[in-house]
């Protein structure tokens, strides 16, 4: 049985919405980073889904996914490094307690 494209797209949209929600409301920066991973993975799901149906070469979508995963890993690494440094200096990892860059 082949899962229809619409299901997968709905699944991707849900995943994206969860990611956005997490990003916007989580206080913990690690949580925000995880939510960003969710957003990226929602994109990945869409790319995989379209690679099966689109008129283009299916390899293209899958290669994009590999790239996105790589970039997501590096982004997470850099993000975690920042969080670690931040924690060492400020003794907090809550986003709403860090508001140095204002007026």
């Amino acid at each position: 049985m082949i899962v229809p494209l619409e299901h997968i797209l709905i699944f991707g949209a849900l995943l994206f919405a969860i990611g956005i929600y997490g990003t916007l409301v989580r206080r913990n920066i690690v949580g925000i980073l995880i939510s960003i991973e969710l957003i990226l993975n929602a994109v990945n799901v869409n790319l995989i889904a379209f690679s099966r149906t689109a008129i283009l070469d299916p390899v293209m979508g899958q290669v994009f996914v590999i790239f996105v995963i790589t970039l997501a890993a590096t982004a997470a690494t850099v993000g975690l490094a920042i969080v670690l440094a931040l924690y060492r200096i400020r003794r907090t990892i809550y986003a709403d307690e860090i508001n140095l860059l204002k007026w």
């Binding site: 409301v25 925000i32 709403d96 508001n99 007026w103």
Partner: protein
Amino acid sequence: MVTLAYLIPLFPLLSFVILIFFGKRLGHKSAGVAIGASLLSFLSAVPLVLGAIRGQTFTHEFEWLQLGKLPLLFGILIDPLAAMMLFVVTVVGTLIIIYSVGYMHEDPRFSRFFAYLSLFMFSMLALVIARNFVMLYISWELVGLCSYLLIGFWFEKESAANACKKAFITTRVGDISFFSGLLLLYFTIGTLDLQALNHEFLHTFSHASGRLTVAGILIFGGAVGKSAQFPLHVWLPDAMEGPTPVSALIHAATMVAAGVYLVARTFGLITTFPDTLPVIATIGTITAFMAAFIGLTQTDIKRILAYSTISQLGFMIAALGLKGYTASAFHLMTHAFFKALLFLGAGSVIHGTGTQDIREMGGLWKKMPHTSFTFLIASLAIAGVPPLAGFWSKDEILVAAFEAENPIFYYVLTATAAMTAFYMFRLVFLTFFGKPRKELHVHESPAVMTVPLWLLAIGSALVGLPGSPWMNHWFQGFLEPHAAAHGAEHALNSFVMGTSVAVGLGGIFLAWLLYLAVPSLSITLGKLFRPLYLASNRKLWFDELYQATVIRAWYALSRGLNRFDAGVVDGAVNATGVGTLRVSDIKNWIDIHIVDGTVNGVGFVTRQFSSVLRLVQTGLIQNYLILSFIGVLVILFLELKK
């Protein structure tokens, strides 16, 4: 060969440059540099003088500057007159520089002295060889500058400092006259070439004879200042404040003769427009007589010689005014020798005795034999005793005066010759003969001083011979080859010659009578003719007269100008300042209230807006995210609605 002439002034100039920069390091070697340069000048002058004797005239010209359309030319003109001057200046100059080594030996500014002497030699030689008036005038001012520097050489003495200013300012009066004369001449005949001043060329301007006569007299005014003629003679006696070699070189032998030289150079001009001649003759005669009269009673050895110089220069100028061109030049040459010798002798006396007052001297004959003997030769020469140099040249002048239309010149000049003999031998008898009047530690000067004295003494004795009848008036023929035709001028005038010898010997006898044989007689005579004595002793009150008239008027004018300056000029300046301050106040108000107000207003408005808008910038990253997410949604919505 003519390029050799450029070298003549260059050697002393080089010496000046070396001494002014390295003089301190060279110390007493500086004298060697100056003497060497002067000797080299002499050596390079020799071929030119010999060439001139053979009848050659050396000229050369080059363009120095282009002034508008007019080229300003420099050049060289060595005719017999210039050759004679070259000979005199280099020979006398070299001897005097050698003499200075002894005279200035102790001076702390030893090398500076020789630097100035070199500068003087340069300027004087450039003046002599100049072909046109521009170069001549520049050199003319340069010798004036050297004169100023050297009179004031001992500027620590206030009298010397005043004397150099007096000399400079007084001669400046003459220089202004000279310069205006040059301008007038230039704008009339259109050239300043000395060779243009001949009859043939000037006759084409006979329509402008009035202007050219005035130009001639104005140029003569320069000579009046430089050669210390009446009424500008007052500076020369004061110039004796300078070191004695300077008095000998500049204020007796060469520079003061530059005035005579100038008139001789312009002889073509003044004889073409003969209205100038009586002026020149009169001034010369007045000067000769007046200076001799003042010289009769002076007591400072150098001042007597200074008045004697003025008097002899008066003779030369008078001779030119009486058309005695060769007589004047001849006397210039002989005078340079014996007057340089007299001054150097006086310097030796001052060096040996430490005083300048002849009343304190006496009986120096035994202690200073070389000085005394050479001084006596020079005195005999200036008194006109044959066959010494002064006799022949003075005789020539008296002949020229004798042949003039107006006999008064002859009588006055003969009387002056008698006075010359008298005051010179008054000086000789009081200084070298009789008994010492004061205890002085007298010593003869060193050889470096006495050798030049002897060389000049030989010159004083012999230099008159080429112009004497014994050598067939060779010198006159050399100076004026064309005039050989009217040989009558040079014919022996036994009446004049006899009178000249008689008054000379008479003057000497009178001096002997009054100051050696019967000394009390001079005092009695002084009391008997007290007004005359006073007039002579006080130098005819010229200084007092000038002090009371010219200088006081000048001071009054200066004070008036000072008040004008302080009141009107300073007032105007101050008023401008105050006005500027007021305007600035207004501008300041505008700046603060309007310009600054505008700028501040812009800033204020911006701040008001931003104070609201900046609240958006919370620093919380999630706020930004929400805003950008909402933004994306809005854009998406708008896109989809299309």
